[in-house]
Symmetry: C2
Subunit: 254 residues, 2 copies
């Protein structure tokens, strides 16, 4: 099983939208996928029409060690896509996690081992900011996809984020790969977007996914119906773009 | 001195852009303003052309109690606008803050008292997620402005955010007002935006600021020049909208 974390400390960069859309596209291509919602906001959970986790349930129970990972996963409308949902108790876990002793960064990696028999791919949706939850995700992951808008703050934050990944790799997870940088909410009509895209290409070369995800209201509407874009608007440019990225990602993950 | 926190756990809702634009507009109207950057990403700091704080400097020194608030503020290109910048050490503070004993939520309120003699208005830019930094900001604040995009996840998260504010009010800060809800990156052409705006109006009535902030590349460009929108593009719809909101906000704060 390969584990793909969708991360960026910057807020609103399309982490959840990309984790959900790509998990769905991979499941539709025939692989068994489990999406782990690690954000107390539980956006990915809602986007797939699943109820928030209650006490003793969902991804917070993974951290508490109070339930096996296999008992926590929920089915979705896609045969090959399961979800371990998030709930508000995850916020309580977040506060206490870093006080859990020397190996707190590796708790999630240990607890996710039970998923390997059942799934080909695990996708983790991370919260924004340098959360102990995101740190656990990056230690548990085979690699990370960094989603970002093409704007000034995103570019500013990238160097530091790359340094953070490097630090985690040497301290806790030597296998952590940078699977790629994904341009989201892309508006090719603005000069700023094209300038930032150029900078990305110059500094990260082939790490940048070829296909940018266009800004489109379809992607903002889909979660309100509890459907991934691949079901909500299967022939839309947004669904097509995410399927292309999913294909490119699977090649890099293999 | 009145203290206004710009907060929302959801990422990328325009907290920083609004804190900077409104702080600038209020300063240009003649009041003395200090902007406290409480986000380790230091976006507000960069948006006003100020260098990140180094060790022992900036808002992290406020928490460490190692420097007076007045010694930490930096001048900007606007005569009446000062900034207490953020730096990456703030992330270290963030992790340790909740372990600081019983009154950790009130540290910022205590340390900001020294600003009252010198400024009319303090503006605090908060990071996303339920950070101990945001909690400190809400306990230090006279009131909060919640910025949000008009989309599904934003609406979903509001009820819980309102509950969190209520909890903080009863536990730590009985004066904490909800100064208002600000619609950002608004695109009136999409049905989803108008539907969400309607829901906001129905549930929050006059709390919602009359003027939405339009989505415009000018606001994304301004920080790359280290200028607030009111200087970068003074006659643009974006600058006009933020000035109108600043005026409405000052009435509510008084
Ligand atoms: N390509 C797109 N076009 C239009 N809207 C989009 C697009 N991608 C995402 N959105 C919308 O933008 C908002 C932010 O996206 P999303 O929640 O996926 O980002 P995030 O990085 O997960 O945010 P957070 O940092 O809060 O976790 C959401 O309302 C989402 O529906
Ligand atoms: N009205 C607008 N039109 C176009 N772009 C905007 C607008 N408001 C903000 N932006 C851009 O959108 C991005 C997100 O905005 P901003 O950083 O202010 O949100 P935030 O809530 O502070 O994010 P975070 O949760 O990471 O702190 C930034 O690149 C900003 O320049
Ligand atoms: Mg998200
Ligand atoms: Mg911000």
């Amino acid at each position: 099983m390969k584990t793909i974390a969708f991360a960026n400390r910057k807020g609103g960069t399309g982490k959840t939208t990309s984790a959900v859309s790509i998990a769905a596209a991979i499941a539709e291509s025939g692989k068994k996928v489990v999406l782990v919602d690690l954000d107390p906001q539980a956006n990915a959970t809602a986007a797939l029409g699943i109820e928030r986790a209650g006490r003793g349930d969902g991804s917070q129970a993974l951290f508490a060690g109070s339930a096996s990972s296999r008992s926590l996963s929920r089915r979705t409308m896609l045969e090959k896509l399961a979800v371990i949902p998030a709930g508000s108790d995850l916020a309580v876990i977040e506060y206490g996690l870093a006080a859990n002793g020397k190996k707190w960064q590796s708790i999630l990696r240990k607890r996710m081992k039970g998923l390997a028999k059942e799934y080909d791919i695990a996708v983790i949706d991370c919260p924004p900011s340098i959360s102990p939850l995101s740190v656990n995700a990056l230690v548990a992951a085979s690699g990370v996809v960094v989603t970002l808008q093409c704007d000034y703050f995103s570019l500013e934050g990238l160097a530091e984020f790359a340094a953070n990944i490097e630090r985690l790799r040497s301290a806790h997870n030597s296998q952590l790969a940078l699977f790629g940088l994904l341009k989201t909410m892309y508006d090719a009509r603005t000069l700023l977007s094209r300038q930032v895209a150029e900078q990305l290409a110059r500094h990260f070369g082939s790490k940048v996914f070829k296909t940018p995800i266009p800004r489109t209201v379809r992607l903002a509407e889909a979660p309100s119906h509890g459907l991934p874009i691949t079901l909500y608007a299967p022939t839309s440019p947004a669904a097509t773009a995410y399927r292309e990225v999913a294909t490119e990602l699977l090649r890099r993950v293999a």
